[in-house]
Amino acid sequence: MPLHTVSFLVENKPGVLFKVANLFRRRGYNIQSLTVGPVEGSPLSRMTVVVDAESRILNQIVEQLDKMVDVVKVKRLDPLRTLSRELLLIKMKTSDPIARIEAVNTVNAYHGLILDVDPDILIAEVTGPTDEIDEFLKRIGPIGIEEMSRTGAAAIERGNVKLA
């Protein structure tokens, strides 16, 4: 099933994240990722969810979210205009010097940053669209992933349109 990105503004108050998550759980919608953060200078937060859904369900997700009193505005982002990024923090085992060089090269190739260096361990940060992060992880897999933390996608549409 295709992945879709839905962004929505919610009241920034206790309990709202629970209600949103509860809606997804109870109606059986499949979430790939969910990100939340406050909107500067406003009492709202912006949530972005990436869902795996065919069109009837996608439509339901938008409408059911919109129906919630605490959800102010919902938009299904246009895939052709959407800029989407997620952040990966990754810890790699690099006691072997060759593995270490390979890890640094791979991080560089994905425009990542080395954040911390330890005799046996490298920590890097990589940002990019979700599929790029997936690709990066595939490359780094054989080198050895000790630990990782992904944020899920934040997304915004190009041009003079906004969710407000």
């Binding site: 919610v10 009241e11 206790p14 309990g15 629970f18 209600k19 509860n22 109870r26 709202l44 009837r56 439509n59 339901q60 409408e63 059911q64 919109d66 129906k67 919630m68 009193v69 605490d70 959800v71 102010v72 505005k73």
Partner: protein
């Protein structure tokens, strides 16, 4: 601005909403409020169990159109209302639930009688709110009433920690509340109404299905006019019963699993189907393949999320059904000559009606008992039902003249709803006789509410179609499980006549339709809460029936 306690503000906020009755059961976490209620004119109706109190509030709400209010304590008081809230929410009934809670400082500690009622009820309410400071109480209560009674109505809960009841604050009572994320009044789109009118005007076999939304919006007059103009027959969902008089020549009655022949044979023939305030529940449509295979569907609903949820429509009108139908009717009138009756159609409907009415005419069959109740009830009166076979017979055979005469738990199908709902309904319309069409299993679930009917002076009549089994489940086992009866036997019932008497009500055993009629008439005349116990055949089935998973035309008319 006036300084007062949260409890005082609570009472004042309810008074400002015009609340006449509070249904509930008391407890420690709500005592400060109960203390202040002593000074109020709001009448408190103490219940036997919070579920019953919630159904009373629901019955009150459905009949009066105003929110019904239930007030309970924290913990078990709060969890006991969950079934009632779900029942109200699924049938779009405006119920406001007010729950006490442990003091905020103890919330989250598993304190005595603490439950997370916000979490527990999030899925069965339209909205819920936990008060965090005394000063929020007037706004929270105003919001609950506003949200529950606008747009698609529903259940709203406000959870009120005990310390916010006793804290003092400078209170402001808003006349109006607004939400960035809640805009219930949607004007139907005129382009969509135009398309709908064009489709309908050109249709050769238009059919209308009316649901609870048609009744909630008061659209029935417009709906009937449109139906007559188009010569479109009107079927209803269970919640839509009353959208058209049962004896109207274009009335098809109940559609779906236990729908009448006229509805289930004629709906699938539609080339254009206008669905008004109904949500294509599986019980109304049967298998979607056989539902209306050749129809182009026009769907009107106030709740946008219902559009295309189960069935795709080609014209979608979001908004108030009354406004939408009025708009469509005007536009149809411009496009089509109307007036003459479709004699062939009316004749077919009549024939199917006769078929539906003669499926089982043995003296104490379900349909005959329902018809006897109808004969005994005056025209201006209200019936409610419980859930099971008796409910389906009532939906099929209890003739109504319009909305406001028949109420039932449709979406949740809550056994035990009827008796307390009848009491709440009686509180809303003390001038009208109220009768619950019940089953032995359903009645036993909430019979303790008879005490409230007697004590508080809300006389209701209950007719128990007593087949001694959980009949609807027995029917499925008879028809689809080769008579392998399991779990359907009730533990031995008490003697319902003596039970009624022990509550101070009247109990009558009625063994003929004549005796039923006499007992009902007497209970109404004497304004006496009365339980009428009618022994019934435990083997009788409700027909017609569409077996689960089959299409509307796959009707079983009898047999097994």
């Amino acid at each position: 601005m006036t300084e007062m306690t949260g409890a005082e503000a609570y009472v004042k906020a309810l008074e400002k909403e015009g609340v006449k009755y509070l249904f509930g059961v008391t407890g420690a976490a709500i005592i400060p409020i109960c203390d202040d209620l002593l000074k109020s004119k709001i009448r408190y109706i103490g219940g036997a169990h919070e579920q019953g109190s919630t159904h009373m509030a629901d019955g009150y709400a459905r009949v009066s159109g105003h929110p019904g209010v239930v007030q309970v304590t924290s913990g078990p008081g709060a969890t006991n209302i969950v079934t009632g809230l779900a029942t109200a929410q699924l049938d779009s009934s405006p119920v406001v639930a007010l729950t006490g809670q442990v003091p905020l400082s103890m919330v989250g500690t598993d304190a005595f009688q603490e439950v997370d009622i916000i979490g527990i009820t999030a899925s069965v309410t339209k909205h819920n709110i936990q008060v965090m400071e005394a000063v929020e109480i007037p706004h929270a209560i105003k919001s609950a009433f506003y949200i529950s009674s606008t747009g698609r109505k529903g259940a709203v809960l406000v959870d009120i920690p005990k310390d916010t009841q006793t804290d003092k604050a400078d209170m402001v009572f808003p006349d109006k509340v607004e939400f960035r994320g809640y805009h219930p009044n949607i004007e139907p789109n005129s382009q969509e109404m135009h398309w709908a009118a064009t489709l309908l005007a050109k249709a050769r076999r238009p059919v209308i299905i009316a649901g609870g939304g048609a009744i909630a919006s008061g659209a029935t007059m417009e709906l009937i006019e449109l139906a007559e103009m188009l010569q479109a027959p009107v079927a209803t969902s269970l919640m839509g019963k009353g959208a058209i008089p049962s004896n109207h020549p274009l009335s098809l009655g109940l559609c779906g699993m236990h729908g009448r022949c006229e509805a289930n044979y004629i709906v699938p023939e539609a080339d254009v189907l206008l669905v008004v305030g109904a949500r294509f529940s599986d019980r109304t449509t049967g298998s979607l393949r056989g539902f209306a295979p050749n129809a182009r569907i026009i769907h009107i609903d106030v709740d946008r999320s219902e559009i295309d949820k189960n069935v795709d429509s080609i014209t979608r009108i979001v908004g108030d059904a009354k406004l939408a139908i009025r708009g469509i009717r005007e536009k149809v009138a411009q496009q089509r000559n109307t007036g003459h009756t479709d004699e062939d159609l009316v004749k077919r409907i009549k024939e199917f009606k006769a078929q539906s009415d003669t499926l089982n005419t043995s003296p104490l069959s379900g349909p005959e008992v329902i018809r006897a109740i109808r004969r005994a009830m005056p025209p201006d009166s209200i019936v409610v039902t419980d859930v099971g076979q008796h409910q389906m017979w009532a939906a099929q055979h209890y003739d109504v003249r319009g909305p406001g005469e028949f109420f039932t738990s449709g979406g949740l199908g809550t056994m035990g709803w009827g008796t307390p709902a009848a009491i709440g309904a009686k509180a809303a319309r003390p001038d009208l006789p109220l009768l619950n069409i019940s089953g032995d299993g359903s009645f036993a679930m909430t019979e303790n509410n008879l005490a409230i009917a007697v004590d508080e002076g809300f006389p209701v009549t209950v007719v128990i179609l007593n087949n001694g089994v959980l009949g609807m489940v027995a029917q499925w086992q008879r028809l689809f499980y080769n008579r392998r009866y399991s779990t359907i036997q009730r533990p031995k019932h008490p003697d319902f006549v003596k039970l009624a008497e022990s509550y101070g009500a009247t109990g009558v055993k009625a063994e003929s339709t004549k005796q039923i009629e006499t007992a009902i008439k007497r209970s109404i005349k004497e304004k006496q809460t009365t339980v009428i116990d009618v022994p019934m055949d435990p083997e009788e089935n409700v027909y017609p029936m569409i077996p689960p998973g089959m299409g509307l035309k796959d009707i079983l008319l009898g047999g097994a």
